[in-house]
């Protein structure tokens, strides 16, 4: 009897037929475009045509196959299990299988105790991720593979989830990095995600097998895995079909008549329904009314075909598109252009200008401005007069359409920007955090995956009767929600409408976090390319319950705003410096990538060289590589705090005090999490007890990657993930013991109801102990201790040390503890005093102050990505939360105020809100580490403390890699809105 194995994946359906001897007599794979039942039927028909009148067994597998298997009562095997069955049979001796699919990534460890790892709720590092990234670069995955062959460099790209990676890749594209290098970097990101996210402390070794679509089709991906794993894996014949093969090989007694089965399936509609929302339009008439209403949105702005005497140019070099437009003094629109940013905005703008000069040789451009991600490079390349923050550009444009606009929402390809307008100034800015961005391009990618063009896909939504309710969370989760809806029988129309609705909900409830639609405002202007999509616009109106204005140039608003801004700024006799037709003839653009060695960050610099040897450097986080004359001194408390730690030997471990005569026992302290504050304490304590203290080196990328393979939970915050690398570094120093205690409680500064550490800070040593295997050969002191009570401390510490064979007299400990407390207090005092100094300078020199409120470990440049320096470069003094919090006393908060570090944050916020330093313009920027659960509580509270005083609250989310471009927008907007 022949056996059929059917593997229904997230995007494709694969089928094999085995004969009695396990030979493959038939195999095929198709994209199912979510028509699972139909495609299954087609496959069965083909099989029964090829083998007429043969009854066969059928077993289904695959993530999207469970529903149909259940409903049709066909045996089902879990897909990882199926893979394992086939690998065991076909390639015995395999130690590890790495299988990447459309939306799943799996590692199977077969030898030495079976372990199976699947990706969690995150679709990062999978086929879908590679597809998304290819779309972003405007190439196919195959082309991406070909490009990657010629790479020279690998960039760091966050691989955790597609959305994160996008925010890394976009700036690279905008800065003109080589496509070959980006392509290879994307594949490396997949490798890192698979190893970092799935291996979870287990080494990948022995005979490694590569399976699944991406690894079958992309030779360079296999090579990247080989490179990183330092071995040579094999990709066997039929590597696409292992799940289907395993299904076919699974034991089953049930035999089917294929004809009957095919008929049954064609009758089949999924039994379970799905949750739906209200349709976008209940009738044709409703749609017509909607269309005609919006046709009047832009009645006072016209397009002209001939340029006026004076023209103003605006360019918006956005993340996925490049837009340009000219306007006359009335604001009428001329020569608009909207192009996909297929990697590098420079040639697009060049050809735009060339075309403009060709068609209108006499055009008089009085002034020009550029905005968007590519602002810097375009400004440098073409001598654009002005640069403008995106937020201001959009506001300027929106005002033209609705002078009393009080809320603007812009959903572009990669990002959502919303701002409230209060008294004619931008009052409150919401930008999507890295986790939910990519809305517009998400729709596009989805349309592509389902085999539609974007506009066809959007049009489908109009007739949807029961749109799928996909929720409002991170877009990455939507992949699986859609999968579920498909399983439950949702039509493509309803999926399209559901996606539009979810984009809107995401913006409203995730980004803006509005409690009610009324709180948004009355006069709302929507813009951005995504709103050109009628179903998104309709979904938005339905969700907020009233009508909004969509300018007909919705996608061009950034550029139009820039043009209006250029007009505002031109002065009377102004003439634009923008490149002329002649300039363009000799225009050249070359890109080179180098590593900056100015500091430990080792930024990858992109050096753009234009004609005449003009240079533009991008990718830098500070001004060092630009070799500028030192304009002004930096008043940066982050820097100061970090440099204080150097006294204790950080960054200099092997050199520090290492002479052969030093026979003291060594104790290693990892410079991580709370140690950034407590190092002075522990260092002094151990020093006084006769230890030679070795502190782990400064964090850097390599140190992180060295420890990555032992991280058990890939959703924990980045500062915690870094601990693994620091421990590995200490182990290499051969210390006698490593001291990293668990601390439920923090110091008590009487600012809150309690003085806890967050669970991660408190107990991460437990995770380290359980997951870093190489620690087993070293003494690892991870005992519980608290320093908030000096008297109790000495007693408990003495006991703790004696557990490890270090016995001290009580008096010795007491004396050392005294010195330690003293050192800690001095350390904190010097931070506070420095803050006082800086405040005086700020007052004297009239400099704005930004309190960058975070936690002690945010001083690590690997964690804060030098945001402190960026703020200094914008001309402000940077202070820390702990340098001000001591000047407040405990006050009531609306949340439970029980973590020491966060109590400081509330206190600092209050300090700013109350303007405790008269004459100093202070603002708060809160740093939040991605994955910090506690900050779900603290950010809202800090925001409300700040906003009650009428000030602007700014939050910056940081992770392993962060999009510095978006952070810069946020900061510049704050500076612009607060009038700094």
């Amino acid at each position: 009897m022949k056996r059929i194995g059917l593997d229904v994946g997230s995007t494709t359906i694969k089928c094999v037929v085995l004969d009695e001897q396990d030979n493959i007599v038939y195999s095929d794979y198709k994209r199912h475009l979510s028509r699972i039942a139909y495609m299954s039927k087609c496959l069965l028909d083909e099989i029964s045509e090829k083998f007429p009148d043969e009854d066969m067994s059928i077993v289904i597998s695959g993530s999207a196959g469970m529903g149909i298997a259940n409903d049709m009562e066909i045996p089902f095997v879990q897909e990882v299990y199926a893979t394992r069955t086939s690998v065991k049979k076909l390639i015995p001796g395999t130690d590890t299988v790495i299988e990447l699919g459309g939306e799943d990534a799996k590692i199977l460890f077969l030898s030495h105790g079976l372990e199976v790892r699947m990706n969690g709720s995150c679709a990062g590092g999978t086929g879908a991720f590679i597809d998304q990234m290819s779309t972003l670069m405007n190439i196919t995955p195959d082309e991406l593979n070909t490009l990657a062959k010629d790479h020279e460099k690998i960039y760091t790209i966050a691989s955790r989830c597609g959305v994160f990676a996008k925010t890394d890749i976009q700036p690279l594209i905008n800065q003109g990095a080589r496509k070959e290098d980006i392509a290879a970097s994307i594949l490396y990101a997949v490798v890192n995600q698979t190893i970092g996210g799935l291996a979870q402390g287990r080494e990948i070794e022995g005979n490694v097998l590569y399976l699944g679509g991406p690894l079958t089709f992309l030779s360079e991906l296999r090579k990247s895995f080989d490179d990183v794993l330092k071995l040579t894996g094999t990709c066997p014949d039929n590597s696409l079909y292992y799940v289907a093969l395993g299904a076919a090989m699974s034991r089953t007694e049930v035999v089917y008549n294929l004809k009957q089965m095919s008929d049954r399936i064609s009758d089949y509609t999924s039994k379970s329904g799905y949750i739906s929302c209200k349709p976008l339009f209940v009738s044709e008439e409703e749609y017509d009314t909607f269309v005609s209403r919006h046709s009047h949105d832009s009645d006072n702005i016209h397009e002209t075909d001939t340029p006026a005497d004076k023209m103003y140019l605006g360019i918006d070099a956005g993340s996925t598109t490049v837009k340009a437009v000219l306007c006359d003094e009335e604001g009428n629109i001329f020569f608009p252009s909207y192009q996909s940013n297929s990697g590098n905005p420079v040639p697009l703008i060049k050809s735009y200008l060339e075309e403009l000069y060709k068609k209108f040789p006499d055009i008089n451009i009085v002034s020009a401005a550029v905005t968007g991600y590519g602002e810097d490079i375009i400004r440098n390349a073409f001598h654009v007069d002005h640069g403008i923050v995106e937020t201001i550009a959009h506001y300027t444009a929106a005002k033209k359409f609705k002078p009393d606009v009080d809320f603007i929402i812009d959903i572009g390809g990669q990002d959502i920007k919303c701002f409230k307008i209060h008294n004619g100034a931008i009052d409150n800015i919401f930008l999507n955090e890295a986790c939910s961005s990519g809305c517009g391009s998400f729709l596009q990618t989805f349309a592509g995956a389902l085999g539609y063009s974007m506009s066809d896909f959007a049009a489908l939504a109009k007739t949807a009767d029961k749109p799928v309710d996909l929720g409002s969370r991170c877009t990455v989760f939507m992949n699986s929600s859609v999968k579920q809806a498909q399983k439950d029988g949702a039509s493509i129309n309803n999926i399209s409408a559901g996606l539009s609705i979810s984009v809107v909900k995401n913006a409203l409830y995730k980004v803006i976090r509005c409690a009610s639609a009324e709180s948004l405002g009355k006069n709302i202007v929507v813009q951005g390319g995504t709103f050109l999509n009628d179903s998104v616009l309709r979904a938005f109106e339905q969700e907020i319950g009233h009508d909004v204005i969509r300018p007909h140039i919705s996608g061009l608003m950034g550029a139009y705003g820039a043009a209006l801004y250029a007009m505002e700024k031109c002065g009377k006799t102004g003439h634009s410096t923008i490149a002329t037709a002649k300039d363009l003839e000799v225009f050249t653009h070359d890109v080179k990538v180098i590593s900056c060695n100015g500091c430990n960050n080792h930024c990858r610099l992109t050096i753009n060289t234009f004609d005449n040897g003009r240079k533009f450097i991008a990718g830098n986080r500070c001004e060092k590589p630009l070799n500028l004359p030192n304009k002004s001194r930096h008043y940066d408390l982050y820097d100061y705090k970090y440099s204080l730690l150097k006294r204790y030997g950080t960054g200099n471990t092997s050199a520090y005090g290492s002479n052969d005569t030093d026979t003291r026992p060594t104790i290693g302290i990892p410079l991580v999490l709370n140690m950034y504050e407590l190092l002075p304490f522990w260092y002094t304590l151990f020093d006084n007890l006769g230890f030679r203290v070795i502190v782990s080196p400064e964090s850097n990328r390599k140190l992180y990657l060295d420890g990555q393979h032992t991280i058990p939970s890939d959703t924990v915050c980045f500062p915690a993930k870094l601990v693994h690398g620091h421990i590995e570094a200490l182990l290499r120093e051969n210390v006698d013991a490593i001291f990293y205690p668990c601390m439920s409680y923090n110091v008590d500064e009487n600012l809150g109801d309690n003085h806890y550490n967050c669970p991660v800070v408190a107990y991460y040593p437990v995770v380290i102990d359980a997951n870093v295997k190489s620690l087993k050969d070293t003494v690892f002191i991870k005992e519980f201790i608290s320093i908030h009570n000096q008297k109790e401390f000495s007693k408990h510490f003495r006991k703790l040390m004696s557990n490890y064979g270090y016995n001290f007299q009580a008096s010795v400990i007491k004396k050392a503890a005294l010195a330690a407390y003293d050192e800690y207090n001095k350390h904190m005092k010097s931070i506070r005093e420095k803050a006082g100094e800086f405040l005086d300078i700020a007052r004297k020199e009239n400099l704005p102050v930004i309190v960058l409120a975070g936690r002690p470990y945010h001083v690590d440049p690997e964690v804060n990505h030098s945001i402190n320096k960026m703020i200094c470069n914008l001309g402000a003094v940077v202070l820390t939360e702990d340098s001000l919090s001591w000047r407040e006393t405990r006050f009531p908060t609306r949340v439970l105020n029980q973590w020491t570090y966060h109590s400081r944050m509330y206190a600092a916020a209050k300090f700013i809100a109350k303007d405790r330093e008269p004459g100093v313009n202070m603002n708060l920027v809160q740093l939040v580490s991605f994955g910090c659960g506690v900050d779900a509580v603290t950010t809202d509270e800090a925001r409300s403390i700040i906003e009650r005083s009428g000030k602007i609250y700014t939050q910056i989310k940081i992770d392993e890699v962060s999009n510095m471009g978006a952070i810069k927008i946020r900061l510049r907007s704050l500076f612009s809105a607060a009038g700094l």
Partner: protein, 417 residues
């Protein structure tokens, strides 16, 4: 968005006591039915909310920070939905939240609930926090020692019923018989509670014996089912609303499920107070009260075990004391935030009792679970190579199909062993 600020707490006054309905989220379905009656004994009208579905989640997401843990979204969502849907007069209800306190962000639920109420313009609704440590004062709500004791009793009965149902139901010959008995006993106990019976002294033993015997007499087949244990964050571990009917799903997959009882968690909370003294010299005085409570709970536990021991083919839970030493094999007992060391201890217990397949249910992004869930799996695997632990994330955005797919994989591996 700017929000109105009410710093003043609305008290649950004496006058409200008889008149107001106290709304509680549905955390432990079995236990809460009994708890409702204990409250009634003391003159409180407690309603356990059973709203489920997307509308409840949406209400939660709307008023609670989206990144807040899923249990907050679910349980606060239920309460806010109750106020909005028209079933209750908002001016005649109070809300109650159970709270363990401690360094986990879950200790913020009360404050988050109040904040949400303010945002809804319902800041006048009183919120009662029910916690083991430092309760706020409400003149109309007093948790007296006897009431607390009876509350613990309903936990004991609830655990007992849960334990027996889980062991018997998969093997019952007559479908539905076990569930019927559960319902029957809940009714009997409620009847007793109404007359203040079955809550002290000999009545307890009589009940426990009768329950055990009644369940034991259910006719069973001698199949071998896949044994699966459930541990996790307290809400998603027990609440079917939180875990997408995890127990039902496992039952449908031909499994015998074991869920460690709630009493263990209660004892864990008491125990942590003593641990703080031991480790940091804190709670010098309050630890005595907690030590006493811990001992009382231990006594209760002994009774249950002594009854179950009479049926050698039933699995008997470990005592709390045993749990502490089981936990010591994998984690330090100083880890006390969230479910802390108890969660790994329960995993060890399950494995040693033959439930080496374990679903570890956790809210997406749960901080303690980085440590006590995913963090200890490596150690468990080293200690028990056959342990088959499957962490499952629960979240408003997570889909059932992914969760079930992962569990199916765990089961496939389990069935091979």
């Amino acid at each position: 968005m700017k929000q109105s600020v009410t710093q003043e707490r609305v008290e649950f006054t004496k006058a409200m006591k008889g008149e107001y309905t106290i709304l509680a989220p549905d955390i432990f379905p079995m236990h809460m039915k009994l708890l409702e009656k204990v409250f009634a004994l003391y003159g409180y009208k407690l309603d356990v909310l059973h709203y489920q579905g997307k509308k409840v989640i949406d209400t939660g997401l709307r008023y609670v920070h989206n990144d807040m843990c899923y249990p907050a979204i679910c349980s606060i969502g239920q309460q806010l939905y109750a106020l909005q849907c028209g079933d209750y007069d908002p001016h005649k209800v109070a809300l109650i939240q159970f709270q363990t306190g401690g360094g986990c962000r879950a200790s913020n639920y009360i404050k988050l609930l109040r904040k949400a109420l303010n945002n809804m313009g319902m800041g006048y609704v009183p919120v009662i926090s029910l916690s083991f440590s430092g309760m706020e004062k409400n003149s109309g709500f007093k948790l007296t020692p006897t009431m607390l004791y009876k509350g613990v009793m309903s936990v004991v009965y609830g655990d007992m019923l849960m334990l027996l149902r889980n062991q018997i139901k998969p093997y019952e010959v007559n479908a539905g018989e076990t569930e019927d008995k559960v319902n029957k006993w809940v009714d009997i106990l409620i009847g007793q509670f109404e007359h203040n019976k079955g809550l002290v002294g000999k009545g307890i033993m009589r009940n426990l014996r009768a329950i055990a015997e009644d369940f034991y007499n259910i006719e069973r087949v001698s199949d071998i089912k896949t044994r699966v244990g459930i541990v996790g964050e307290i809400y998603v571990k027990y609440s079917p609303f939180g875990n997408n009917n995890l127990e039902k799903f496992l039952e449908s997959q031909d499994c015998e499920v074991m869920v460690p009882g709630v009493l263990g968690f209660v004892q864990y909370c008491f125990h942590n107070v003593s641990m703080d003294y031991k480790l940091y010299g804190m709670n010098r005085y309050s630890r005595h009260v907690n030590r006493f409570a811990e001992k009382q709970a231990a006594k209760m536990e002994k009774r249950v075990i002594s009854v179950l021991k009479e049926y050698p083919d039933l699995i008997c839970p470990s005592t709390f004391e045993e749990l502490t030493s089981l936990g010591d094999k994998v984690i330090d007992r100083g880890v006390k935030m969230g479910e802390g060391w108890l969660l790994p201890a329960e995993m060890v217990e399950l494995i040693e009792k033959g439930f080496n397949n374990i679903v570890c249910a956790q809210p997406f992004g749960c901080l303690p679970n980085h440590i006590v869930g995913k963090g200890v799996i490596r150690t468990l695997k080293d200690l028990y190579p056959y342990s088959n632990v499957c962490p499952i994330d629960y979240d408003a955005g997570a889909t059932k199909v992914n969760q079930e797919n992962r569990i199916k994989l765990m089961l496939a591996v389990a069935r091979e062993q």
